[in-house]
Structure formats: structure tokens, C-alpha cells
């Protein structure tokens, strides 16, 4: 029998409906793969095999009756930032301890209502703060990809990107058909780029944020990481929905993104922003970008040079807005209502001891930066100025949309790096998000599609940025890149 874990989500869906295999068989194949891989990759912080098999059994009943829902019986992974009813949810922080939600996130509920099966909770950077998955209280995730040196595999452990590093590693290692993820500054697209997977951050407001542990509320957005553009289109359609429980979630119908894929890019106007050609950009990154331009052109798109003059201010503005909002959001972790509590001599002492023990180093750093920029006398100089710069970043895009339909850039400045290579220097780590963060600041949709391999034999991605709520165009253009570049399966399953 073929290895069912290697199937794409679309092929698995068609195989189940055609009764080539059952959801129970498919789910068991993944449970076995997770058992073998997780001690090496640490992608799952909580596998839930019994839960998965119960869901699979129910799906098999529906499939047998010909009563399949759109994602019936398809096993996926769920980032540990999504609350799961009756199943531990930690955001990979010690401060949440054994927090067991009494409710389900809207995005999760949408997926289960569509018939999907949950294999377990996936690792991420603590509270989604990080670009390498090294800040998780459960330890780092190992990228299934390894570098090649003189044609031989180098055993240096590489990061899978972050914060959705468990999602990206699990998808690329065939430990699920697809995964939920979240993106505040690049946390879906950067890990997708570093693992040869597809990741889309939809427009702010497309997916409900209800039941997702909050980091920076004006930037956070959920989306999928998947093996192919088609799979990501299928998943997003069933993650997104209007939601009365999130006032920022829009009341727009969710299109059938999969139907968009075949439309191609003939006549599509593609913008190439000169400001993304940053100092010190690797030659191979630039070469990949040029390839992407050529592929889209060959498929009938027209290419236009554009300018997004405030690009360089996006990252510093982000590092005011995101910490400010995180310091407010994380104020709720007080040792009183849920999670960890350390006893203190009075209430303030209890707060201080609990938060000192419960938060990791990067989280503390960001809470403190946020507290500083919001403190008396500094609000106008920092937070207000950053929010005004955000308006200018958004206006740059608004101007560009009169000339182009989509913008093409690299996803990251460089491919996957080794453990510890950037974790000692916060600023070096923050630069990982230089190409992705503008998209969050402007609230736009962005997709990363694998497009080639680096000189080290590791994957690299291209990013497409779209107009608000025009995810459909990103899938169309992403499909063209995928068709030209091909797929990037992990070459050696060194952990098996």
C-alpha cells in the first residue's frame, strides 16, 4: 500500500470519497508517522490520537453513507494558539500551565464542522513571539530539511521558522495533511518559506480571531500552512467565516478559492517594489525573485516596477505596535483566573512572582518594551507615531493598487538558519520578518509559495501580496508559481 501520509489534502479528499481507503486508515498512518517523528522533530506538543480516531470513525460512517462534508475525514494539525474544548491549550507558555478551554476557537469549529480530524496541538514560539520556534516552553522544533555540504547531508539542526514552526515542520514532514497557523508579522509565511510549504495570511478580518490566544490584536490573523496552493485554498475556505463573536471579522461571503485556481494570470498586473531590494540581500534570493517574475510573465501577466516608499519603516513601527498590544493583551495572565500561580506575600507580589516564572525571556522583553512605549509621556512619541506611519504604509499600497493587481517579493531574506544562530540577538531575529511585516501593518493578504532551493539545498519562498479580501488572486498567481517551480518534498526522512 502506498504511504497515505504523502498524499496532498486534495488527493486524500478525493481518495476518501472514492473509497480507496478509510479515514481511520489515513488517520492511523499519521498517528504512526507522528509517533516515529515527534521525538526528533518536536512538532506536536500534544498528539491527540484517541480524539482523532473517534473523529475518523464518525467520518467513515458519513463517507460510507455518501454524506461527506467538504473536509470529511481529513487529518490536520492545530497550532497550540487555538483554544480546543476539553484539550489542553498553552500557547507554548509556562504561564498557561494545563489550561483546558471550555470552548473551541471559531476557526477550529469551522474545520471540525466541515469534517476535519484533529491529530493534535502543534508547537509554536511562546505566544507566537519569535521567528524560529526557539522560544517555545516545550523546546524548539527541528526543521525536517537539512543543509547539503559537498553533496552530503549536514547534521546541523535548522529552525523551521516561527512562530508557526510546529505547523510548517509537521506539514513538510507529512505529519498532517495541513495545519492551522497564525500570522502577526510573518508567522505563517516565513515558516512556510523555510520548509518548502505554502502558507497564506488572509486579509485582516477574513478569519475570526475568537478563541485564538491573542498576541497583537490589530495584526493577528489565522490562516493555513499546507503542501500545495490548492490545499491551502481548500483549507482557507473552511477556516474563514463571518463571526458575531469577533467585531473585527467581516461579514463577507467566503469565495470558493479552489475554483479560482484554474483561472490563471493572463493580463494580471504584477508589481515589483524596488524598496524590497534591500542591502545585503543574498544573490540567490534576488535570482529567485527574477525567476518568479519570468514565470508570471510567461503565463501572461504584465510586470510593473512600483514604489512603496515607507517600506523601511514597517519593521520599526511593528516593533512598537506589536509589543504595545502584547503588553495589554498579556496583562490578563495574573495567576488568578487560569494558569500558573506562584504564591506571594500580597496580591502584587503574587502577580510579579507568577509573571516572572511564567513568561519566557522574549515575551518579557516585548511586554517591557510595550509597557515602556505606552507609559506616561511616551504614548505620542512611540505608539501614536507608529500608528500614523502605518497609515502611510497602507497608503503606499493603496496608490500601488491603481497600477497593479498583486505584488511579488521574496518571503525571507535568506533560507533556514541553524539553532542559536540568531536567538542571541533580538534585532537580527526581528529582521527575519522584513518582507512579511508590511503586509500585517497594512492588513493585506499575503501568500508564500515555495519557489526553489538555496545553494545549501534548503527551500526558499516567494511572497505575493494582494488587495484587501482578494485572496483569490493570490491563489491564482500562487498556482502559476507552483506549476513552474514544482513541489519541494523533504529529500530524506532522516528521522524515520
Amino acid at each position: 500500500m502506498t504511504d497515505l501520509t504523502k498524499l496532498t489534502l486534495a488527493d486524500a479528499r478525493d481518495g476518501l470519497v472514492a473509497k480507496k481507503f478509510t479515514s481511520t486508515e489515513l488517520t492511523q498512518a499519521f498517528i504512526k508517522a507522528i509517533d516515529a517523528a515527534n521525538p526528533h522533530l518536536n512538532a506536536y506538543v500534544l498528539p491527540t490520537p484517541d480524539h482523532a480516531l473517534a473523529q475518523a470513525k464518525a467520518s467513515d460512517v458519513r463517507l460510507a453513507k455518501g454524506d461527506a462534508r467538504p473536509l470529511e475525514g481529513l487529518p490536520i494539525g492545530n497550532k497550540d494558539l487555538f483554544c480546543t474544548k476539553g484539550i489542553r491549550t498553552t500557547a507554548c507558555s509556562r504561564i498557561l500551565g494545563n489550561f483546558t478551554p471550555t470552548y473551541e476557537s471559531t476557526v477550529g469549529q469551522n474545520l471540525w464542522d466541515a469534517g476535519a480530524v484533529m491529530l493534535g496541538k502543534l508547537n509554536n514560539d511562546e505566544f507566537a513571539m519569535g521567528s524560529s520556534n526557539e522560544t517555545s516552553c516545550f523546546g524548539p522544533v527541528v526543521n525536517p530539511w537539512r543543509r547539503l555540504r559537498d553533496g552530503k547531508i549536514d547534521n546541523t539542526k535548522l529552525v523551521p521558522g516561527g512562530s508557526s514552526g510546529g505547523s510548517s515542520a509537521a506539514v513538510s514532514a507529512n505529519l498532517c495533511l495541513g495545519a492551522t497557523a497564525t500570522d502577526t508579522g510573518g508567522s505563517i509565511r516565513q515558516p512556510a518559506a523555510l520548509t518548502g510549504t505554502v502558507g497564506i495570511k488572509p486579509t485582516y478580518g477574513r478569519c475570526s480571531r475568537w478563541g485564538i490566544v491573542a498576541f497583537a490584536s490589530s495584526l493577528d490573523q489565522a490562516g493555513p500552512i499546507a503542501k500545495t496552493v490548492r490545499d491551502s485554498a481548500i483549507m482557507l475556505r473552511h477556516m474563514a467565516s463571518p463571526d458575531p463573536k469577533d467585531s473585527t471579522c467581516v461579514d463577507l461571503p467566503v469565495p470558493d478559492y479552489e475554483a479560482e485556481l484554474k483561472r490563471g494570470v493572463k493580463g494580471l498586473r504584477v508589481g515589483v517594489p524596488k524598496e524590497y531590494r534591500v542591502d545585503g540581500m543574498a544573490a540567490e534570493t534576488d535570482a529567485l525573485w527574477q525567476k518568479g517574475i519570468a514565470w508570471l510573465k510567461a503565463a501572461g501577466a504584465t510586470i510593473h516596477d512600483i514604489s512603496l516608499p515607507h517600506t523601511k519603516y514597517a519593521l520599526p513601527a511593528y516593533y512598537i505596535v506589536a509589543p504595545a498590544e502584547c503588553s495589554s493583551n498579556l496583562a490578563r495572565y495574573d495567576g488568578v483566573r487560569y494558569g500558573l500561580r506562584l504564591p506571594g506575600k500580597d496580591l502584587i507580589d503574587t502577580y510579579e512572582a507568577t509573571r516572572a516564572a511564567g513568561f519566557g525571556k522574549e515575551v518579557k522583553r516585548r511586554v517591557l518594551i510595550g509597557t515602556y512605549v505606552l507609559s506616561a509621556g511616551y504614548y505620542d512619541a512611540y505608539y501614536l507615531q507608529a500608528q500614523k506611519v502605518r497609515t502611510l504604509i497602507k497608503r503606499d499600497f493603496d496608490t500601488a493598487w491603481s497600477d497593479v493587481d498583486v505584488v511579488l517579493t521574496p518571503t525571507t531574506p535568506s533560507p533556514a538558519f541553524g539553532f542559536g544562530e540568531k536567538s542571541g540577538d533580538p534585532l537580527a531575529m526581528y529582521l527575519e520578518d522584513i518582507f512579511t511585516v508590511t503586509v500585517n501593518m497594512a492588513g493585506l493578504p499575503g501568500i508564500s509559495v515555495p519557489a526553489g532551493l538555496s545553494a545549501e539545498g534548503t527551500p526558499m519562498g516567494l511572497q505575493l501580496i494582494g488587495k484587501p479580501f482578494d485572496e483569490g488572486t493570490l491563489f491564482r498567481a500562487g498556482q502559476v508559481i507552483e506549476d513552474a517551480a514544482g513541489h519541494f518534498p523533504v529529500p530524506t526522512r532522516w528521522w524515520a
Binding site: 483546558t100 488568578v336 506575600k345 502577580y351 517591557l368 515602556y372 500614523k388 533580538p426 492588513g443
Partner: protein, 95 residues
């Protein structure tokens, strides 16, 4: 912006995070570095630019002012580290 140790301690107090002496020293450098880097935003002319308050132009949703949820006291205290009946228990605040 150079952040001194007293400022780091004041901020940590505001954030209700206890820090060690070593952390106070290392955070001084880290926070100074990050704040010096974000200071480049000062060079952007933002006169007459409104702050961004929402990403998409939309009206805030409204709903009928009726009770749609509640009666979940068990759920609400289910994860609390210390409770009594349906109350959260904290150290004494007033004598």
C-alpha cells in the same frame, strides 16, 4: 534612547514582572538597542496623517442588546488555580 537601570526596574514594576539584578542589567542594553532602532520613525513627517485605527473600512458591528450567553460559572472558574464556591481566591487586599 538610553534606558537606565532605574527605568528598567520602573517599567518591570508597571508590567508586574519581577526581574533579577542580572536581568535588570541585560534588559538595559536590549531595550536601549531596540528603542534606538525604532527611533528612526521620528524622521517620518506625519503632520496631518491620521493614526491607523482599522485595516478595512468597515462599520463596527452592532447587535441587539440582549443577553445571549451566560450561566457558566462552572466553566469560568474551571481553570482557576484557587477558587471557593464560584469565586476566585486572591491574597487579602484590604484589611
Amino acid at each position: 534612547m538610553q534606558v537606565d537601570e532605574a527605568t528598567v526596574r520602573r517599567i518591570a514594576r508597571l508590567a508586574r514582572i519581577r526581574i533579577t539584578d542580572e536581568e535588570a542589567v541585560s534588559l538595559q542594553g536590549e531595550l536601549s538597542g531596540i528603542l534606538a532602532w525604532v527611533e528612526q520613525l521620528g524622521e517620518v513627517d506625519t503632520a496631518n496623517v491620521p493614526p491607523m485605527t482599522r485595516v478595512a473600512d468597515m462599520k463596527l458591528k452592532q447587535r441587539t442588546d440582549v443577553v445571549t450567553d451566560g450561566d457558566k460559572a462552572d466553566d469560568i472558574v474551571a481553570n482557576a488555580p484557587m477558587t471557593e464556591d464560584h469565586f476566585f481566591v486572591v491574597p487579602k487586599v484590604v484589611e
